[in-house]
């Protein structure tokens, strides 16, 4: 296990976990329609990153899974969506939304820094495979961060001054 494989593992874990957080946020904020729909679109990017890291990992003797299979809506996710609808008429979930967006942003920022490390390591090691992987995925991670930042900027004036 060297620094490169450690970084690949960390990215694999980070993208899987961001995908999961995005899915959970999409369910929990079912009544915030833009968050609900775009978060699901962004899951696709993290899943794709996960797949690409796993593929690349094979060249470094890593055996990493692909993204989790999309399961049918289970009890927990249905419960999350129903509870979102139940409190959809109340202002307090707005604070939870800002909290979740912040967590998503930090998770994406964590991944972004790993992509930075991987790209640097790839350049130092003259390893084109790593540089290509990072230069494909990193811009999308930055776009995930800009999305959460934009939503926080747009929504917080209303949410924080009305509760």
């Amino acid at each position: 296990m060297n620094g490169i494989t450690l970084t690949l593992r960390a990215l694999h874990h980070g993208e899987r976990s961001l995908a999961k957080q995005l899915s959970t946020a999409a369910e929990r904020h079912h009544t915030e329609h833009e968050v609900h729909h775009v978060a699901q679109d962004l899951v696709l990017w993290s899943n794709d990153h996960c797949r690409r890291v796993a593929e690349t990992g094979r060249h470094y003797e890593l055996d990493l899974d692909g993204p989790p299979e999309k399961s049918a809506p289970g009890l927990v996710s249905t419960l999350r969506e129903k509870s979102a609808e139940a409190v959809g008429r109340r202002p307090e979930p707005g604070l939870l939304l800002l909290h979740d967006l912040r967590e998503l942003h930090l998770a994406a920022a964590g991944n972004s820094l790993y992509w930075e490390m991987l790209a640097q390591a790839g350049q130092a090691a003259k390893d084109d495979r790593l540089v290509e992987l990072a230069s494909f995925c990193h811009p999308r991670t930055l776009r995930q961060m800009r999305w959460t930042n934009t939503l926080i900027k747009t929504l917080s004036p209303q949410i924080l001054t009305s509760v």
Binding site: E34, V38, Q40, D41, R143, W147, T150, P157, Q158, S162
Partner: protein, 829 residues
């Protein structure tokens, strides 16, 4: 002399063929009420059409203080004297007996008549209480695409600087926000690049999701006249329905709903692959080509054929036409704007023109269309989620400039976040932070998606709803205060069509009862609220339409939509004039961007742009480094699958849309005898193959159901794309037994019972074109056909299956070819 034509049966009337680069010949259309001859008309009063975005210039005939007919204005550049069916007949709705004539307030759960003082006192006291207890963010305004420029501007000033709220948007959000956003993304700023005159010069015209024959029928007359003349253009039509445009197209592509980006990326792929890029233009005028080329490199016609379900060969054929055209014109409307990835797709249409260098010259242009007659003004006056005059809310210098015009502190104009869009306002109302919503000139209880949700939001006790309208609409019935508005023909003002042509619309008759012009209502509110500027003077300094127009001219000075060269006197008696109109261009400007991309510089642009997939803002620093010299931005977008796809219990794709004979939620067209009779009730379109497979036929009564709700209508079997159902969105409940929404007496009738709450994250325009639906038989037709017109995209298959749509003598319009330029009256009937 002239011809009498049944303009319900023949909506586009007779032909006046003309050749390429020739001027479009005039044709004077006149319609007068039964028993009225030209000599009976006391006055002709100048105006333009208010029932679509084309801006057909017309005169209202007045006798004994009443409207008795209309005629086209031959001098006008837009229509050269022609009228569409809605122009010819729609004016009759003004005199409907059920017009609102007095304010209403809710007492003990019922709306009761009252006087203006009582109603306005209620609105003002609630506004003051909310400002004190909850702040300006608790008040929102939802306006229209059907008021006048002067009214939007006044509303924008009182909402943004008077109340100080960020929550002001128009129903233009549903019709034209993607057009605005796509122009902003590509050119840094809103503003229609092309001109209708480009129809005269183009050799290829591509219509993307734009059923122009039904939405702007007079411009379709122009295309038909060119098709019948020498050197006619080739049409490319992208539409899943067999529209009149599709029937006349050289290439018709009928893609699966929600796949426009895949199709457009394949067209760009082909143009690049076949070496049709104007590299000199791209180098001089654009940034971002490399990224675009990289994004579309894998998007072969075969790849797109799989996604869109159209033959790859046809995609190649369309690309070949675009790639070899001498001058091509593209237009886009709701098939793009109300569909999945709306802005991303509309931007790729701009990209087709930029990579081919086809912009700003006669015949080479883009028309990102509007649906509504005055939507352009909602946008430019700052009532559609932007600051007035296309100022950039993120640019402190722009905000300071606006504050100077209004003589207020910049901090009193909210600009810490983007102006709130309509769907978000309804969400704030749902979640309880928005407590007062003032709705003017629109009917969200029929036009917004997922109506059960909208009705429940508007029906909340804690939300104080003010509705300003002509009739007791489905929305007005849910209001706390209803204010009776005067409409077109009863008030004076200006409005601007989809190709930037500004028209004056004069008052012809008095409004009914105590109804007031929307401008007067807003001015009254501003006065009662006592809004002040920073020196203690009144914030709103004007008192009538003309002084409001003069105030707007000061706000527009030096902006892309510069009106300083216009005046009521200049517009009266003449043709409409295209903005910008100022000292440098006193006769207006036919096309933008002929001499470079004027408003994309970082210091000038209206926006720094957004991510086309996520809607995230691009920062000023990023924009500066990407586009330091202010060129057009070639923005690439990857295709994403739609959020709701057919399958399982909901095997059909469902799209909603328009028909020629109606406008919006039929508040006027449903009260116009000829138009109502042409399409009196909702229907459901299905392909012949699907009808056969489901054992269904013409006229069968069916339920169409989605996860949100259902509607009931009679079936029309057409040449629509298999797998797709179509329902017109115009129908609601005011003329159904229940009056307001579905109940035990009235099954669902509005298409929006079924639509999904989802919007394009970039333009925030709701999606109406991609829902998954099921269909179920309720009752056999038993010989009764559906109410769908036979003259339009809803034509039956086989053609003779149902009686043809006709208007009879009551729909006869007099058409005179080669009329005198002074609109001399036609011969008596």
């Amino acid at each position: 002399m002239g011809n009498w034509v049944d303009r319900i049966a023949e909506p586009w009337g007779g032909r006046t063929p003309y050749g390429r680069h020739q001027p479009w010949p005039a044709r004077l259309d006149t319609y007068l009420a039964e028993g009225v001859g030209p000599d009976d008309v006391e006055r002709w009063v100048q105006t333009a059409s208010i029932l679509h975005s084309d801006g057909d210039a017309m005169d209202i005939a007045v006798r004994d203080g009443a409207m008795v007919g209309v005629r086209g204005r031959v001098v006008d550049r837009v229509n050269r004297g022609r009228l569409g069916p809605k122009d010819a007949f729609g004016w009759q709705a003004n005199a409907s007996p059920d017009r609102l004539t007095r304010p209403l307030v809710r007492q003990g759960g019922r709306l009761v008549e009252t006087d203006w003082d009582t109603a306005m006192d209620l609105v003002v006291s609630r506004s003051r209480a909310l400002l004190q207890e909850r702040g300006p963010g608790s008040i929102g305004f939802y306006t229209s695409g059907q008021l006048f420029l002067e009214e939007y501007y006044t509303l924008a000033v009182l909402a943004r600087a008077g109340i100080g709220t960020n929550h002001l948007d128009g129903n233009t959000r549903l019709c034209t926000s993607t057009a605005a956003e796509a122009l902003k993304e590509s050119f840094g700023c809103d503003g229609q690049p092309g001109s209708y005159d480009d129809i005269d010069h183009a050799d290829v015209i591509a219509l993307f999701g734009h059923n122009i024959a039904e939405t702007q029928p007079v411009q379709w007359m122009r295309i038909l006249d060119r098709l019948d003349g020498s050197d006619p253009p080739c049409l490319i039509c992208v539409d899943p329905r067999p529209t009149q445009v599709a029937r006349r197209a050289a290439v018709h592509l009928a893609p699966r709903g929600g796949t426009n980006v895949a199709l457009l990326n394949a067209l760009l792929h082909e143009i690049i692959r076949t070496g049709r890029v104007d590299h000199e233009y791209v180098e001089a005028r654009t940034v971002g080509f490399e990224e675009l080329a990289k994004t579309v490199a894998p998007c072969t016609p075969e790849w797109a054929a799989d996604i869109c379900d159209v033959p790859a060969a046809k995609i190649r054929e369309a690309a070949e036409l675009l790639g070899t055209a001498d001058k091509f014109l593209s237009t886009a409307l709701q098939g793009v704007y109300q569909s999945h990835q709306a802005t991303a797709a509309a931007v790729q249409i701009n990209n087709l023109h930029l990579v081919r260098g086809m912009l700003g010259r006669p015949g080479a242009g883009v028309l990102q269309m509007n649906g509504q007659p005055t939507a352009q003004n909602t946008r430019e006056c700052g009532a559609n989620g932007d600051l007035p005059g296309f100022r950039n809310w993120e640019n402190e210098a722009h905000v300071a400039d606006l504050a100077k015009v209004w003589n207020v502190d910049p901090k009193s104009i909210p600009h810490y976040a983007p102006p709130t869009h309509a769907m978000q306002m309804f969400r704030y109302a749902e979640q309880g932070s928005l407590r007062m919503l003032w709705i003017s000139g629109t009917n969200p209880a029929v036009s917004l998606p997922e109506l059960s949700r909208i009705r429940s939001i508007l029906g909340q006790e804690r939300l104080f709803t003010v509705v300003q309208d002509l009739f007791l609409t489905e929305t007005a019935q849910l209001a706390d205060v209803v204010l009776p508005g005067a409409t077109w023909g009863e008030k004076t003002g200006t409005f601007t069509n989809a190709d930037r042509t500004v028209h004056l619309s004069d008052r012809a008759v008095e409004p009914p009862g105590e109804a007031k012009p929307d401008l007067d209502i807003f001015l009254d509110y501003a006065r009662r609220m006592d809004f002040r500027d920073k020196d203690g003077g009144p914030l709103v300094t004007w008192r009538d339409p003309e002084s409001a127009f003069e105030a707007w001219k000061r706000c527009s000075a030096g902006r892309p939509c510069d009106y300083t060269g216009l005046a009521y006197g200049k517009l009266r008696g003449a043709s409409g004039i295209q903005w910008p109109c100022n000292a440098q261009a006193p006769e207006g400007t036919d096309r933008l961007y002929g001499d470079g991309i004027a408003w994309a510089h970082p210091d000038a642009c209206e926006t720094y742009g957004k991510d086309l997939v996520t809607g995230a803002s691009v920062s000023v620093a990023e924009y500066r480094s990407l586009n330091p010299d202010g060129k057009a931005v070639l923005k690439a977008a990857e295709y994403l699958p739609p959020h709701e796809e057919p399958g399982g219990d909901h095997p059909f794709q469902l799209t909603t849309g328009r028909t020629l004979y109606h406008f919006h939620t039929r508040t006027k067209t449903g009260r116009t005898p000829q138009l109502n009779a042409a399409a009196p009730d909702v229907w459901v379109e299905i392909s012949a193959a699907d009808a056969a497979a489901e054992g269904l036929g013409e006229g069968d009564l069916v339920d169409v159901t989605t996860p949100r709700g259902s509607l009931r209508g009679r079936l029309r079997v057409t040449g629509i794309r298999p797998g797709l159902l179509f329902v017109p969105f115009h129908y609601g409940y005011w003329d159904a037994p229940s009056g307001c929404g579905p109940d035990a007496s009235t099954p669902g009738r509005a298409a929006n019972e079924t639509t999904i709450t989802d919007w394009d994250p970039v333009s925030k325009q709701p999606l109406f074109k991609t829902a998954a639906a099921a269909i179920a038989l309720v009752e056999r037709a038993d010989g009764r056909p559906s109410a769908a017109p036979t003259t339009t995209a809803s034509a039956p298959v086989p053609a003779l299956a149902v009686p043809a749509t006709e208007g009879g003598p009551a729909a006869h319009v007099l058409e005179v070819r080669e009329p005198d330029a002074d609109n001399s009256p036609g011969s008596a009937r």
